[in-house]
């Protein structure tokens, strides 16, 4: 690769230069260079994000809104700017549809609470899939418990794809009010066929929520093209800070939904008898928001856009292909999920070795993978395993890192042989 190439030739990602943007990648772990293959749990942060947060705190910080002074006005502008940036990122038609939350878990809980209790008629059902993260299971179980809403689970195939016939069958009786499904599985890497899901669900009168925690990190999301009703995003996987996430929802739904939490910033007027709510999205943002984190998230969005989703998707597709080939070649390694359309997450088990032991042995060589049930116990059960090891990739992941994983796994296999 030519050294005079601009950081990012169109459609191409120069991983060596990208890595320079992430200070942590220079660290060593147990004396070995860090090989971070746990980005699906949380991504590392580029310098622009770190700097945006630092600069806010060093030069331009005050509480947002209501402040009639310079620092507050400037901070409010920066904070509100993230709404615009996020709306642009996911092509939301209206910046007021961007609700700030802590993470996608809160986004889904907000929908379960406000839409679930406020709009969804009693007796209706929520339909999830068999590959959901606990964050897209438990809120609906809690809604079932509190409100009687039925919970249905669409089956998945052995390849780890949504079983579309089974999915559609569960909608047939017209009792499903909401389909809540992941846009990309954090265990299998599977992308679900989002457009088709929406078409079918809408045809049966159901709204659709996508858990976009993973998907928006890896490919362009266009909520208008998807035609979905809710979309949940968590900032820390998108190279942004912790403590900030986004719920996108159609404005007409947000208008009708009752608030989730009450407090400062979300009211229009208050007496002890009656309160009226502020306009959306403020109605859903009680209390002092994660101001510094929102500003950091804007930098992360800018960073992702500067690389471009095309380049990201191409880079990750090539890594994933390489990883699938490399790991499959190792005797005793079994990969979970063989979806046609998949992203940069590879879960596997190794014969005769428990995933925790595998993870510890890899860690000893500085290689960070996740091991466990990945907050998806029912999915583990579906595949008859207790836990898996999972390698997941980001913009900074290299082929060499995957080779290091493969080589080390060979030794791990020998170790436990």
């Amino acid at each position: 690769m030519n050294v005079t190439t601009p950081i990012l030739a169109p459609g191409r990602l120069d991983v060596a230069r990208v890595r320079e943007d992430f200070p942590i990648l220079g660290e060593t772990v147990r004396g070995k260079p860090l090989v971070f293959l746990d980005s699906a749990a949380s991504a590392q942060k580029p310098r622009v994000v770190i700097d945006a947060m630092r600069e806010t705190m060093e030069t331009q910080y005050a509480n947002v809104h209501r402040g009639l002074h310079w620092m507050s006005e400037r901070t409010t502008d920066a904070y509100e700017g993230t709404r615009d940036a996020m709306a642009a990122l996911i092509n939301a038609p209206d910046r007021h549809e961007i609700v700030f939350v802590r993470n996608s878990t809160e986004a889904i809980n907000l929908v379960a609470h406000s839409f679930g209790r406020g709009i969804l008629k009693p007796g209706l059902a929520v339909l999830i899939s068999g590959m959901e993260h606990h964050s897209n299971i438990i809120p609906w179980m809690m809604l079932r418990e509190a409100y009687g809403t039925e919970l249905r689970v669409a089956p998945i195939t052995d390849a780890g794809e949504l079983d579309m016939a089974g999915f559609e069958a569960l909608l047939a009786d017209g009792k499903v009010g909401l389909v809540a499904i992941t846009h990309m599985s954090n265990v299998l890497g599977t992308y679900t066929p989002a457009e088709r899901i929406v078409q079918i669900a809408h045809a049966h009168g159901a709204k659709v929520l996508f858990d976009g925690s993973q998907a928006v990190v890896h490919r362009r999301v266009d909520v208008q093209a998807l035609d979905c009703d809710f979309y949940a995003i968590t900032g820390h996987k998108l190279y942004g800070p912790t403590g900030i996430g986004v719920l996108w929802a159609r404005r007409e739904l947000l208008e009708r939904m009752p608030p989730f939490m009450g407090g400062g910033e979300m009211i229009s007027s208050v007496s002890y008898e009656r309160a009226t709510w502020a306009e959306v999205p403020h109605k859903f943002e009680a209390g002092t928001p994660a101001i510094i984190e929102a500003i950091g998230l804007k930098a992360a969005i800018g960073y992702v856009q500067s690389i471009g989703y095309e380049a990201i998707a191409a880079h990750e597709a090539s890594l994933t292909e390489h990883a699938m080939a490399r790991l499959s070649a190792i005797e005793g390694v079994h990969i979970l999920g063989r979806a046609q359309d998949r992203g940069g997450v590879v879960s596997f088990v190794l014969d005769r070795a428990h995933a925790h032991d595998v993870a510890t042995l890899l860690d000893r060589q500085g290689i960070a993978v996740r091991a466990g049930h990945h907050c998806a116990e029912p999915l583990m059960r579906r595949f008859g395993v207790e836990s898996t090891a999972r390698a997941s990739f980001g913009v900074y992941t290299t082929r060499e890192e995957i080779d290091a994983l493969g080589d080390t796994l060979e030794r791990v296999r020998e170790f436990f042989a």
Partner: protein, 155 residues
């Protein structure tokens, strides 16, 4: 010490803020609407009386708020008098641009020249973004009243 502030609080604003001429409910009210800025607590109710030809015969208001919002309501009442609802809306569009940016180069043409000159003292708010809504709030209420609505917010 506050010389710079005279940009914002010009004498005309202080004067209209202190002694508004139109802070009352006309005898006859054909349309009215409230405006409300929850972010700062400013509230205004605007009353409109139409002339037989449908133009604005008289505007009054009842406001609780800062000098800027009251002066703006008062100057609004002066400048929309005798105008058609459409012209009042167009004038608001021009005024809003001025309040946001300090200028409005492409505004209105001749028929608004004098009105905008009258409103010009309020253009200083553009340097204080959180105060822009103080200046535009009464206009939002007016436009809501003209549309037959009951409420507006300055959002």
């Amino acid at each position: 010490m506050f010389d710079d502030l005279r940009d914002l609080y010009q004498e005309v604003i202080l004067d209209h803020g202190r002694r508004p001429r139109h802070a009352h409910r006309p005898e006859q009210v054909d349309a009215t609407a409230k405006g409300d800025n929850p972010m700062c607590g400013d509230r205004v109710q605007v009353f409109v009386r139409y002339a037989p030809d449908g133009s604005i015969a008289e505007t009054g208001f009842d406001a609780r708020g800062c000098a800027i919002s009251i002066a703006s309501a008062d100057l609004m009442a002066e400048t929309v008098q005798g105008r058609t609802p459409d012209d009042a809306r167009a004038l608001f569009a021009a005024f809003r641009e001025m309040a946001r940016t300090g200028v409005c180069p492409e505004c209105g043409g001749e028929k608004f020249d004098e009105a905008l000159e009258r409103l010009q003292p309020l253009s200083g708010v553009h340097e204080y973004p959180s105060r822009v809504k103080c200046a535009t709030l009464p206009w939002h209420a007016l436009v809501a009243a003209l549309a037959g609505e009951k409420e507006s917010t300055s959002e």
